[in-house]
Point group: C2
DNA sequence: GCTATGTTTCAGAATATTCTGAACATTTCT
DNA sequence: AGAAATGTTCAGAATATTCTGAAACATAGC
């Protein structure tokens, strides 16, 4: 891969990390490993990305913890090297699952609680919260399926990327 | 609605704001307005949420800009009052559209660029990036549909919250 | 015009997040 | 054992984000 393309990819991936809540450095390291055939050592990573050893070390550990990279040992080398796991799914899953649990579920519960204690006849509030609940319920189902199993989510992905996955009109 | 339930809802909604990238104060104000029948003035909002006038003012403006709240005028009152729009969709749409454009699209482009400049025979990298591209492509289609029109997204929502929206196994 | 009431703005304070780098730990080599 | 190479930790620096509050601004009523 050309250097420029690789660098662009690394930076874009870094920015995109925000979308699912992982920080810039982690996302950049992940991207770099994804785009590199050869295992990379901590040294090369800090050089190529211009980050500190400490930062790189922590990020690598965390990426390993999410299961998206793997530490490997090369013959004749003392250092640790890292490669990306082929399977990118796991990261998305685990992060999604975690965020759902921490951010989504409590909000949905609180919303339902709020709805149940809405006074009779307060139609306006009922209606607003009802609509919201409908949205969140749909999202929740979607997430539940998506997070149910790898197999299920693969099927779902295929299905969703097909041409017409739901009835139009 | 009971006060405790309302407060819980406001706080949960506030935390959940992070999920779609709006800040705590904005989300809390939005929740408060959603859960309140009567229009609220800036004063009441700052009191109930314990935030400054300045902050409240900016958040209200931005919420108005996203089209999720509306400014109203009450007879005999000089102050501005605010109510939530019944339609919660618009916010989710616009925010999603904006984030897609700013964070998602560039990453996908960069990924494709990277793929196209991958050297022949570099199967490993090809495979990894290919898988990623497949995921992102599915997500993109999903988003495109979701963001295409309100009607389309309503249909989609209904569809997705139904019992079995895609072929199992 | 002047005052009362209400809103907006924005510089800088407070807070949260991310990163650095030096100290320390560990392993391998001599 | 000592030295060199490598990895990890973490206190606090750097940065980014969010919030405050006081001043500027707007408008209505007298």
């Amino acid at each position: 891969m050309q250097d420029k393309a690789r660098r662009d990819f690394v930076e874009s991936w870094g920015s995109m990390g925000a979308l699912w809540g992982i920080n810039r450095s982690m996302a950049r390291i992940h991207a770099l490993l994804l785009a590199t055939r050869e295992p990379l050592g901590l040294e090369e990573i800090t050089e190529q990305l211009g980050i500190s050893r400490g930062n790189a070390s922590v990020c690598l550990k965390e990426l390993r913890h999410w299961g998206v990279i793997r530490r490997v040992h090369l013959m004749g080398e003392r250092r640790d090297f890292y490669i990306a796991e082929e399977d990118v799914w796991s990261m998305l899953f685990r992060i999604a699952a975690e965020r759902k649990k921490r951010e989504f579920d409590p909000a949905l519960s609180a919303l339902r609680e709020a709805m149940s204690s809405t006074e009779e006849g307060d139609d306006l509030v009922q209606e607003r919260l009802g609509e919201l609940e409908e949205i969140l319920r749909a999202v929740e189902r979607l997430l539940q399926r998506f997070l149910a199993s790898e197999e299920a989510s693969r099927a779902m992905l295929k299905f969703m990327s097909a041409k017409v996955p739901y009835p139009q009109k």
